[in-house]
């Protein structure tokens, strides 16, 4: 009886290790520097996390199907460049399309999302129909998308210059927020929250979501029960592509410019955040809240350690260790003892 009790506490800790780590991290930083707990810092961390949460939710869906997506970061870059190129202010001197009228905001966002959505669908087709392992399929896509983006980006009249001078509606969309008292709640946080809710509903309340878990958890059982695995996979990769597209436009608007290197390596950050947030790389397991917690942990490390004046090089070491420890816990959780 004693043993059972003990192991259930241990089990709870193992199962919720992510939240424990998150709390310890915050407590640690606050103890070191009580000023850390200010509204400004919290809003900064949340808004910096926003576009990453959106990317991570796309990647997480794919991880849950026991796949992976290395092309996420490059797709973010493509969307950033496309939307920036279509949203330069009319009076800006170095416009990519000098004669383009100022478009309503939703048009460039939609165009970017359609582009990455189609590429995501293509990922899905390659994985589900051609049976190329997801790692390879999306590795190829990652490299090819960079090429496509660079061709679009680096051309006359101005060549490889960052695409800047974004019009005001765009920068407002990504940089401003709703004023509450003396603070401003950034729109970014609201977008991320809305998308998190939508993804939570898809994952938990729709057939697609259930199928996603089933495909990752036991593809054989899914097939035998009549789940159209190919179709579901393609949809999941497509949704991921759409999310990268939206996130890419936010990145361009937030930073105020875009280059063909925007989004570089974001996929690895996203995968790391998912894994730390309890998404199993062997498929079938993962929650929206876990993914958000995973992203927040990395952002708090970034921001908090910088706040404490810790060398950025040490931040890398801490992040690396957290990834390894998280997966070691994950493997412990799922390891079958022979």
């Amino acid at each position: 009886m004693e043993r059972i009790k003990q192991s259930s506490v241990a089990k709870w800790l193992v199962d919720h290790v992510i939240y424990v780590v998150l709390i310890l991290l915050i407590v640690g930083i606050v103890v070191a520097s009580p000023d850390f707990l200010s509204m400004t810092n919290i809003l900064n961390i949340l808004s910096q996390s926003s576009s990453r949460v959106i990317i991570a939710l796309g990647v997480a869906g794919i991880l849950i199907t026991a796949g992976t997506d290395l092309s996420a970061g490059r797709m973010v870059g493509l969307a950033a460049v496309i939307s920036a190129s279509l949203l330069q202010a009319a009076d800006y001197a170095y416009r990519m399309y000098p004669h383009l009228p100022e478009l309503p905001l939703f048009v460039p966002i939609l165009i970017s999302m359609i582009a990455t959505g189609l590429l995501g669908a293509l990922n899905g087709v390659i994985v589900a129909k051609l049976h190329v392992p997801p790692f390879i399929a999306t590795l190829g896509m990652m490299i090819a998308v960079y090429g496509i983006n660079s061709i679009y980006f680096d051309r006359p009249p101005y060549g490889a210059q960052p695409i800047g001078g974004l019009n005001e509606s765009f920068t407002t969309f990504a940089q401003r927020g709703i004023p509450i008292g003396s603070y401003e709640i950034p729109y970014l946080i609201i977008y991320a929250a809305v998308i998190s809710v939508i993804m939570w509903i898809i994952w938990n309340k729709t057939e697609l979501g259930k199928n996603m878990y089933a495909i990752g958890g036991n593809p054989e059982a899914a097939k035998v029960s009549g789940v159209n695995v190919t179709k579901n996979l393609i949809i999941i990769y497509t949704i991921a592509g759409l999310l990268y597209g939206f996130s890419g436009t936010l990145e361009a608007g937030r930073v105020g410019s875009a280059t063909n290197n925007t989004g570089n390596m974001y996929e690895l950050d996203a995968i790391a955040a998912c894994v730390v947030g309890g998404v199993s790389l062997s498929g079938g397991i993962g929650t929206v809240s876990g993914v958000i917690a995973g992203v927040l942990i990395f952002q708090i490390i970034n921001y908090g350690l910088a706040f404490l004046g810790v060398s950025p090089y040490i931040q890398f070491i801490v992040k690396g260790l957290i990834i390894i420890v998280a997966v070691a816990f994950d493997m412990r959780k799922h390891a079958k003892k022979k």
């Binding site: 057939e207 878990y213 059982a221």
Partner: protein, 501 residues
Amino acid sequence: MAEQSTAYILEMNNITKKFPGVIALQNASLKVKPGTVHALMGENGAGKSTLMKCLFGIYSMDEGEILLEGKAVSFENSKQALECGVSMVHQELNQVRQQSVMDNMWLGRYPKKGMFIDEKKMYNDTLEIFKNLDIQIDPRRKVSTLSVSEMQMVEIAKAVSYRSKIIVMDEPTSSLTEKEVEHLFRIIRKLKQEGVGIIYISHKMEEILKISDEVTIMRDGRYITTKRADELTTDEIIKLMVGRDLSQRFPDKINNPGDVILKVSHLTAEAQPSFSDVSFELRKGEILGVAGLVGSRRTELLEALFGLRAVRSGTIELRGRMIENKSPQEAIKNGFALVTEERRTTGIYPDLSVSFNCMISNLRQYRSKGVFVSERKVYDDTKWVIDSMKVKTPSQKTPIRSLSGGNQQKVIIGRWLLTKPDILLLDEPTRGIDVGAKFEIYQLINQLAADGKGIIIVSSEMPELLGVTDRILVMSNGRAAGIVETAATSQEEIMRLSALY
């Protein structure tokens, strides 16, 4: 309507299925009446599973017909069969363990309210089916937290929810306690009342006689007979299952067992259910067989001896010295070698050469000048394997996948002989090998024993054990049911011991 009651709900007539070099089924037949439990019996390898795989479209049959309620059907996959009311409760349960019970029940056909899944209906429908079948499981529980028997109940409930007319149960009681078996039988009786036909595959005689109405017996891929269960006794069933002639399929024995080299006492596996309290001795130059039904934990026993499986208690004594064999490396050092059951998945490196496959377990022997592998030594040893095992291969560089199963097996046995073992553990050494190659493997085993090696063979083919071993350890449900002298035993006695626990 009298006609209705005697008509068959499922008829499988004259089914023939050939694999390259083997006829797995020859004119096999099975006729099931509605509202009855129909036991399908036969030794391991008699063709029961193959027949079921033909029913579910996993294999396509070469000849024969399947009639479901008098209409010819031919399913392409289990999903199609399921939708037509033919379902199977698998031995290895096919469930998404990370999801809840009700998610699994309705996977592939979730009830919906608009865009969203109707969780409430899912819950209530599941509950209703469970209530009907007397199953007490919370539909919201995660499958991974269920016991094996509960998972099985869920599978049965799922079959019921598809309005199945035929439910196949493959060894449903193999991991159930007595109480759980009782519950299962209550459910089966309920299903019978509702007119479902149940095909019940099991090795357990008492159970069969208790629950089934009719029994069909198969042997060597052929239909033998169908009888009413109340006309049969255990002894009669065994006789019908094994009754075949043992012609000259085995070489003459040439080995002479000497002193005891291995003494295993009260060995119990760490992860239960598995084998427990197994004791036996192995002598130098002796061939010890291990018999038992599927699920009697024979393979686990070998794995434990070879350090692949943790041991909770018991001892292993090698030539009077206590050893532990905590890992395969340690076992190899102690002179053990294991040829695994699944040649394809754990034995061969299919795309690599015969030579690579020979040397891989013995790399340390080939290091010359510190770190490099000596091509010369590898060549010599591969040549020794090919010559002494009579491996038929075009060259040492041929990928092993292009060799026949028998020749692949010889290479693997050769590989382990290169480590110069004293104790050779063979798990189903002749599975999937044609008769001629089997004979050669038997000769090889005899020769190895004559050379003084101690050999333990796990086999599901009883004639094989009777033909090549000196003594046979019979396992039943994880326990040692007895050790018999091969010369003084019979298939019937071994069968009886296998079903002891």
